[in-house]
Amino acid sequence: MRLRHRARRWRSIVPIALFAALLAVIQLASLGRVTLLPVKTVVVALLLMAVSRLVMRVGALPRISPGTPAWRLLLFALVTRHFVGILRAETARALRAWSLAAPRRLGPLAWRSLAWAMAAIVVRSWVRAERFYAAQRLRGLTA
């Protein structure tokens, strides 16, 4: 039970690692090398996830004054947490669809369809991110 709980907690890393891997692929394709950016992405995302989890656990939000650096950091952490959630949901959906379409058959076709599933995750996450940004812009978050 405890092991399962821990495994569920570590599942958050999967979409972050996937995002970092995609960054690495894009860098490799465009620059011909991979910088530290993907590693930094994973570290910062995990730190922000920890911050948002801590804030939620101790209920610190009402005690932080809006407009202060701590408030901005907190909002950044919460937005990051939300994006990780979006990535996780889209990753799970795409992989479930892929496993149904290409059930346990390895070979060029399965790998190609997996590549398409990965591309679909990027596109769907992009669309969701765009809508999230639009919604928060209307709520004055980006002002």
Partner: protein
């Protein structure tokens, strides 16, 4: 009296080939409840995004006399198709209070106002729960609360009944019919539009094919079939 929303010759193109909006003109008076109906890809969401100032088309848009960019944060409350795109704070009350806090309202006052808004929409019991723990119907109503908390003149809803079950749709209809705010709702859910709006704009391939009373438009079967919604 000048209309609250005035759109003239609005056109929008993604690229040289795709033009989801072509020469759309209409006006919405204060207190009116208008539905935008059309098939998938007819241009409903694009029209709403132009009104919200999120994308810029050709032609003119005035909301309470101002351009969308300037008007948007003070005049319009928007409810997106997926409430998860709006709600991300630890507690619902924080989510609803956020637009007020972003506009400079003191935090305590913003939270009190948010609680009052949630209470008025029957969500007081959910105020201190995260939005992710609520049902989709509750999240939709919470998104409406987050849009209404700033007391907007115009409430814009994009596919408000998408993925909702019958009971949640009925609750949403009851909620919207209890509001006095000017309403602009894009949907292809005809029974919902019949229950909530008094006027319908029919979009067909990016053009305004019809603009008339809801009952009259819904009675025109041939038009609805041509528009791909019946």
């Amino acid at each position: 009296m000048t209309p609250l929303v005035a759109v003239q010759h609005l056109a929008y193109a993604f690229d040289a080939e795709g033009e989801p909006l072509r020469d759309v003109s209409f006006a919405v008076d204060r207190g009116e409840r208008v539905g935008i109906v059309g098939a998938n890809g007819a241009g409903k969401t694009t029209l709403l995004w132009c009104l919200l100032g999120l994308i810029e088309g050709r032609g003119t848009i005035r909301i309470d006399g101002a351009t969308p960019g300037a008007a948007v944060t003070t005049t319009i409350g928007a409810v997106f198709q997926n409430p998860d795109d709006q709600l991300f704070m630890p507690h619902l009350v924080d989510d609803v209070a956020l637009p007020l806090i972003n506009r400079g309202t003191p935090a305590a006052e913003a939270r009190a106002q948010a609680l009052a808004t949630l209470d008025s929409l029957g969500l007081a019991a959910a105020a201190h729960r995260p939005a992710s723990r609520l049902s989709l119907g509750e999240r939709k109503r919470a998104a409406v609360a987050a849009a209404l908390v700033t007391d907007p003149q115009l409430l814009v809803l994009d596919e408000p009944t998408a993925e909702l079950d019958g009971r949640s749709v009925r609750q949403l209809i009851g909620l919207l019919n209890g509001l006095t705010v000017t309403l602009l709702a894009a949907s292809h859910d005809l029974p919902f539009l019949a229950a909530v709006t008094s006027r319908l704009l029919v979009l067909l391939d990016g053009r305004l094919a019809e603009d008339g009373p809801t009952a009259a438009v819904l009675a025109d079967r041939a038009l609805l079939e041509q528009a791909g919604v019946a």
